[in-house]
Symmetry: D2
Subunit: 392 residues, 4 copies
């Protein structure tokens, strides 16, 4: 195992160290017939690429993806899609110092404990660079979801003490500011805050929110493979995430049932009132029980789009809380691997905040999770098998 | 799939509906040679049993477990351990009303969407009763962890607005009050609060905290199967959990790196300063690098016992935020499955809060997760394979 | 693991020892909406039940199955279906002798090596009784396949030196003679042969053939999860099977390409010439390439219904070669577990041949394998996802 | 899925088409601390490389492997090992003819049925070239097994009517003749036979035998993941294999129990009488039951090294029956994908027999299977967990 794979029907397997020859991923189980080219992938990779602004690491990586298999005449063939990104900008010398000691907040110590030694260059396998492989795979998942009308959108909700103002929410802003915030004003404040952090040789945490709209009800399996459980794992597996919330999240523990329950109603309309209201439209025309054109909705969305671990058709909403970058440039106490105390001053190139570059990673992990469960759900009713196989 | 299994080497598979003939679980991969009897399991089951206090459902279940396989002459054989609990106290008539409508906050609607119809009696598969099977399996995992010196302890941290006072922390209290709080005083306040909720025909949310001590460093796989990621899935898969935090959790998003990083130090002492300090002792005498008797420690434990998704030897600390019981006795708006609006007043037997009975469920899900990753970690170094197979 | 589960989307997990309280199985991932009752299962179980004839063990088991979950109002709900069979006719005393020694041809020695000790009563987990759980699960798989027009039929092809005559092939005979042969004449000869074996305190091997008709082309995944690879595992996992052949099987190693290749032709007919000719009808009306009503066929079926590990629409044909029952009543050389040589004379109740009772086990393992791969194949094309999810 | 991965703890995932940019594999779960370089892999790849003799395809591939991750300072790190082989000698033009028609004995038709279209160049994913990725991964597995004293050796047993003479068996011959036979004389006869086949524009089948010596008893899981079941799947998943035998294989169906049972004896010797006798030495010094230096052996090895699906310490012996190369140069009947009948004469470069080049593939699939089950077995006893974790 070594845990480098995730997913069942749409399964990905990643590889690569920060300063090895290459990183990459194999996507196994991608349905045949999807139009796909390297530029579809590159667009997503560029969103997480370092070196884009004053508040990210000056490390410059081309991060150019090469598709090695699984695409023929511009379409996916159903066979494994391997993608590789050569590492081109290693400054391994920067890391020679940390070969012998344990950086606070990093996985140096735990890798030594687990494996007996470690590839210390740039954090090796535990580097954030590993997420590029997730993004390459997630770009494909997101493209398939788009074909089915499902959209996954993540953005920075807060950096340190600076939060977006929900009333300023403007999705088009997300890719326009270095903080990936859907609120241009908050983004400016956050940028100032990060510069302060950098001057203090310090770093900041933050929150990413993700909303998945156009959801089909019925996605997610009861008991262990709940939609929210699989999303929690997918998000918590991103380095630096320390908490995951679904819907009202931590707030529910102080709520009463009468506040938290979402009432159901029926309607004939089919508009999604969208971001602010959290009002859900549920497409269940298939239901044998309902009259034509009727839809059942929730009037609120405290649950964040799932009930009993299964999508209810309203937007899925989740938040990831991300710790401050552990690589800070002020002197820190630590020990060598022989146990000798020492003062460590980290060198190298490091973002003062992980959050903006992790936005697309969150988006991709959500896309991978939803698509896999959606594919699994395809066989939940015998009638679906008959629809596929009996009309051949 | 249907997602009723979890784990790789220590794998469990559960079954059963609230009002069907029985619920149960198969544990596959339990190591041979563990002393085990039904009373080991029953002790854990009794901790989640309904009908124990004024603040839990009056439903009385014997919840008597029967071991059907995998134990011989008082020891596990290495073969699958099947356990079954007969359902004996069904009041199915109570649920006839909800056969035709969708209860707010429940999975009635999503099960109909996913499967085309549902076993509506007592919530069927989506009932909290399902967790008894998790507890039966988790009891075995916890027993094996105990043999290896690892202890998993969960408790109620808050109910609605009532939180425990860390200074009153007393582990022996957990099983002594109906709120499962390690603080007798807070428990009394919480009990009063819950009685208020019940009078208002309402319910309350709350928080469960779990700490895993005696942890061996090196548990958890890099990238997707991180210890914290697998814990997040395990916990979020429990019905009603809407957020999971590891270590400082949601607080990290407002912290700076200099506050959040845990420094390393070395020492020769080997005492675990325990609950209040969060000070960790790491047992790594195996390390080739360290002089005899030296241990490397973290001086704080903001990370909650993991670095890079791998246990660092300090206590693993996590919190689950649980929503208020959705079954409340006041009138609620909903629709029938034909889309007709209606007023619903829920009958039946329901706890005003899920939290105290879920404490042992959280404990068991943590035990299952840690044991599975610990077993997987056994083969992470070639030298371990040699230790097992070459000295035969 | 312990390897007691098989399948991905239609996954089964079995438990139980020969002389423990019960054996059983959980089926996870059964599509919702299948009509199912205990009698559907019992019919299959009765076909493998001991005590049916002069050539099977006189052990009498009721083998009455109880469905514990997953069926409501006569239909599968999509949730796990647990089934249990109580063990009722244990004569454990018969086995006390073998607690201390290793029976030739049995797993006593290997269980001791693997687990350090073993449940020796009746072979414990390694008893053929374990297959009853496979049959209970396979009965469900076979029923779903029938709904899709796929039929799985197994029968005894030979017992010792006695083979069926293909010209006498009569499917209706399979359930009418104790040898499960589709040739009444051969069955009589085989019965005589077995009686001879019994008189000599000996036992016999044999061959089971299975043919799967109505196959949909496209089932099976390239590379590792080939249809024939998964069938080989499923069949070889049945105790006593020592070889598996697909299509022309072992004969291909002596053939030339010109003899072994199956030519393709096109036709408008849609009759399956059936058993003798091996002539295949392929239902591929979906193909964009073909004119209406045209079908592409193979003119022969040396390949046994697969090409590149994927079903080609012609009947899948396989054979399992089964060793003679290892429990024979003549004196055998062996050792105690302390290494002392001894003469062993086995007591108890044992079939002189495994084959006839294993016929339904082969059938069920094939049904489980085909259904699982068929369900996985549902998502092989993007257009299938659109058919299921876009017309909701 | 798409079924491009195999294994649980030592898991591989392959990718690549015959004429795409590259083929390759990720090995996830390789234990840390194994010395490994590209030359270890290359040695195995060279054994399956085309263009080595007059009886193999004249296609010349460098087949140079590049390790992309998971190795640092000459040792495996425990993180995924990705390996890539660039395709360099594509003659895609040779295949333009077959874009529109279905070659007999190939997977062209079934890929079209499964995926709606296919990468027809050189057979795409269904090409034998895919096996190079298996060999790259298997080379690592074999190296680990060597460290534990386990050796996997495969060779050609027969080609068409020409079989090796067991009395001439000489392992050193296997790599010295183009037929990979351990009998120089038979190899010459087989070479002549193949030249005849080529002159007749025809091809030949054959048999590969594999023996695994130094086996540790206890490997393999009861019920579904039996050692022989997993080997059967691994071998049957190699393109062209139509039958798999373990031990006496197909012969058992005509044997009696008294002939097929292997008696046990005890001894203090520890020599492996090896190839001819099939006499097994079992290393079980750990056993609590046995006096020091005693070993329990089987006096014969009809079972082929497994009992109840678990290794018994004697050599594991299996045979794969491989069909003749379907690409033959004589005219064949087939249809276009529109159903029009046509005469096909295949061009391109094709081996007249698959067998000799598949020998190393069989060896590698066996190594992968045994290592994975050996790693899983590590946790079969609680005492093993204690040995690893309590002496830290």
């Amino acid at each position: 195992m070594a845990g480098s794979g995730i997913g069942t029907l749409f399964r990905i397997q990643t590889f690569g160290e920060s300063h090895g020859p290459a990183i990459g991923v194999i996507v196994d189980g991608c349905p045949a017939g999807l139009k796909l080219s390297e530029s579809d992938i590159q667009y997503y990779l560029n969103r997480r690429k370092p070196g884009n602004s004053s508040i990210s690491t000056p490390r410059k990586e081309a991060d150019a993806v090469e598709i090695l298999s699984g695409v023929f005449e511009g379409k996916t063939t159903g066979c494994p899609i391997a993608m590789m990104i050569r590492n081109t900008a290693q400054h391994s010398a920067d890391y020679s110092q940390i070969a012998e000691c344990y950086r606070p907040g990093h996985a140096d110590f735990t890798f030594d404990e687990k494996y007996g030694f470690r590839d210390y260059r740039g954090g090796g396998r535990s580097s954030g660079r590993e997420t590029a492989a997730r993004v390459a795979a997630g770009a494909i998942a997101a493209k398939i979801l788009e074909e089915l009308g499902i959209t996954v959108t993540a953005y920075t909700k807060s950096i340190g003490p600076i939060s977006i103002n929900e009333e300023n929410y403007d999705e088009t802003q997300i890719t326009k500011n270095p903080c990936a915030m859907p609120d241009a004003e908050a983004a400016k404040l956050a940028e100032s805050y990060l510069k302060e952090c950098m001057e203090e040789k310090d770093s900041s945490g933050g929150v990413i929110e993700c909303r998945i709209t156009g959801m089909i009800p019925g996605i997610g399996e009861p008991v262990f493979d709940k939609l929210d459980a699989d999303l929690a794992k997918a998000i918590m597996s991103i380095g630096g995430v320390k908490a995951v919330e679904i819907g009202d999240g931590v707030a529910v523990s102080k709520m009463k049932g009468s506040e938290n329950n979402d009432a159901f109603c029926a309607d004939t309309a089919d508009t999604d009132a969208g971001h602010q209201s959290g009002y859900a439209v549920i497409y269940n025309e298939l239901s044998a029980y309902l009259p034509e054109n009727a839809v059942i909705r929730k009037t609120t969305n405290h649950s964040g789009g799932t009930l009993g671990g299964i999508s209810d058709g309203s937007p899925v909403i989740l938040r990831a809380h991300i710790k401050p970058t552990p690589s800070i440039f002020r002197e820190q106490d630590t020990v060598t691997r022989n146990g000798d105390p020492m003062k460590l001053t980290i060198k190298g190139r490091h973002d003062p905040v992980i959050v903006p570059r992790a936005v697309v990673v969150v988006e991709c992990m959500c896309a991978l999770t939803v698509l896999d469960l959606l594919m699994i759900n395809t066989t939940s009713q015998l009638s679906n098998l008959k629809r596929i196989y009996q009309n051949r």
